[in-house]
Symmetry: C2
Subunit: 354 residues, 2 copies
DNA sequence: GCAGATCGGTAAAACGATTTACCGATGCCG
DNA sequence: CGGCATCGGTAAATCGTTTTACCGATCTGC
């Protein structure tokens, strides 16, 4: 029942919520007990009766700890940063969705940042990276993502993880099997009978781009095919469209495009040049996106576990916060999978090169 | 066990960054001066010489304030929450991108949350909404977003803003001119000569869905056309595909689809029924997305200022934090704009209804 | 020479939780 | 009855800033 002798202060302050000390006062114990009880301190010895009373008061007052105060005391905020180059790129937003889910499940929140802005090392950098606003940072380097920026961040000792990337050394990373992706894509074209297979490559970031090129080369070598033309495909539909113009007409009957957005552009570009897909040119892209089946023709892709990549990145970063060494993982479960749709077909009878 | 080998107070602690008191000590002033100087306190009178010295020390120590401590003291964290139903929906991620940009420009960070999870009023709700983790919350209600959840959040007195929605009363909102969108879309079809114009509507949320229906009705009325069939289109490609099955064959030669993803699905669905787009059926959607020009046929849409919506939402929420009354805005600049591509054409000679 | 102003700061109390060290009663054992 | 565990907690020091109130000198005017 309500305390008869309550001369001072309202039980629950008019403005603002109940705080720890309110619960303590109301339950007639010290704040320490409330904190230790609510946090499940093993070393706390407490009478069952007291425990119930404290819990009841906390519930009645709808006590919720002030996360900011906790964070200050514990020097741990329960927030992970996620720096993305382009939020509206469906590949990135898929990773983001996975990360959000995993973080949330682990009791963490996700703070969104712009990777480019971060790299400029200005106010955003100061506040986010050096201001104790986050416990760790996941960074998805975009096309222009420099090593210098990464070093800059790493030097602050903020736990850092490169997502969808591959590193060695002190900065950890969680990536995808990029080589397998282009390998599968290229092999698919080879199996269809293509002998002139181009690669529209990423350009940047270097590590990922190199792996994709390797996969393409390996598949060509295994099939005993010559290396087809290689042009820069980039990351956007515009890049892909431009890339098609750079591809010498007739130099290839199939193209492996290292990025799905570029592939979308490449299809438009091909059409603009009077090439029919897949009749004159087969196109296969890396990464599946929800609208790929609705393109015309539906786009053949290698599906990569993007959502899983997001999840695993968070898990890895969390382990790193726990003291583990920076991870160098490749998410290979589920495996990259070829999804055959209608943008690939056997090469035309009259081969491209005549 | 205390460390006997550790002499007192290193100038800059080995672990962790320089703090305010370090700067103060090093510069030979009190912490108050440093804080007030760095925060630009007008009332602070200080000798030029001292000012320079403090600034120099702060720079030398690379002092960055601990945002958590600031937040605690000021009861203001500098973080806005953004709760989204589906991160990987390109419409939402476009809004998100705008919000991120504006927040960042205003010196705020954006915390991402899952709207559905939030609505479940569990741990996430407690920590985010009642834990002082954010200064205000933007909520994009998804298909299942209930009023109860909104009321729940509003009752906590956390500044709340509904994004891409329309409200009256105590909960503010920033929305789009949904009626204009479907009006323009419908008028376009009418001008092409269509007389049987269907509406694949949203279903939920109610307010937005109703406005879209109104726009369609108004355009039909103005053109002196009868009301065509209306079926639930939903928000996903799958929904749109299903919706096409629900549309009686021949009952319409044109369809206004209230959501671009549903429109993508509708095109596939139409094809599955042997309908050619636009020869047999014209389709126009609300919202432009980057891949719309690359669909086949390229999708005619009404472009809405999604990114601007994100920006304006942040600006509105910030004003609300500043004490303004909850806004009820409609972002109408730039205006909804019809982007004619190839999914719309005059109706077939032999009218659908024949 | 003395009452104010003005200058150039300082002291100290918040903000709300966590955590370490310790403490006064009981109970138990010999 | 003395010693010492064990029980059931408590006190108080942080965490790093911000901000209000105030203070001792030095001028200034008369």
């Amino acid at each position: 029942m309500p305390d008869p002798c309550q001369p001072v202060g309202p039980a629950r302050p008019a403005r603002g919520r109940a705080k720890l000390s309110d619960v303590a006062r109301e339950a007639g114990v010290s704040p320490a007990v409330v904190s230790r009880l609510l946090r499940g301190d093993e070393k706390l010895r407490i009478r069952e009766e007291t425990r119930q009373r404290v819990l009841a008061v906390a519930a009645e007052l709808r006590y919720t700890p002030n996360e900011v105060a906790r964070a200050l005391r514990r020097s741990e905020v329960g927030i992970l940063g996620m720096a993305v180059h382009d939020t509206s790129n469906p590949v990135y937003s898929e990773i983001l969705a996975g990360a959000q889910a995993e973080a949330s499940a682990a009791g963490y929140a996700l703070l969104l940042a712009d990777a480019d802005e971060l790299a400029r090392t200005g106010r955003t950098f100061e506040r986010l990276v050096r201001g104790n606003r986050i416990d760790g940072l996941m960074l998805q380097r975009g096309p222009g993502g420099s090593d210098a920026a990464v070093a800059q961040i790493a030097s602050t000792r903020l736990p850092l993880l490169l997502v969808n990337d591959r590193t060695r050394g002190e900065v950890g990373s969680v990536g995808l099997d990029d080589e397998a992706a282009t390998y599968l894509a290229t092999r698919h074209l080879a199996e269809l009978g293509h002998t002139a297979i181009a690669h529209l490559h990423l350009g940047t970031p270097k590590a990922r781009s190199a792996a994709r090129t390797r996969g393409w080369r390996r598949a060509l070598a295994e099939a005993g095919l010559p290396e087809g033309p290689q042009v820069r495909g980039g990351h956007t539909t515009g890049d892909g469209e431009r890339a098609m113009r750079g591809l010498e007409p007739g130099s290839a009957t199939g193209a492996v495009v290292s990025n799905v957005l570029a592939a979308v552009g490449a299809m438009s570009g091909a059409r603009a040049q009077g090439l029919r897909v897949p009749d004159d040119l087969s196109i296969v892209a890396v990464h599946d996106v929800f609208f790929a089946p609705h393109l015309t023709p539906p786009l053949t892709v290698v599906r990569m576990p993007l959502r899983e990549l997001g999840r695993r990145s968070v898990a890895a970063l969390l382990r790193q916060l726990g003291g583990d060494r920076p991870p160098h993982e490749v998410v290979s479960e589920p495996e990259p999978e070829l999804v055959v749709r209608a943008s690939t077909a056997p090469p035309p009878r009259r081969p491209g090169r005549a």
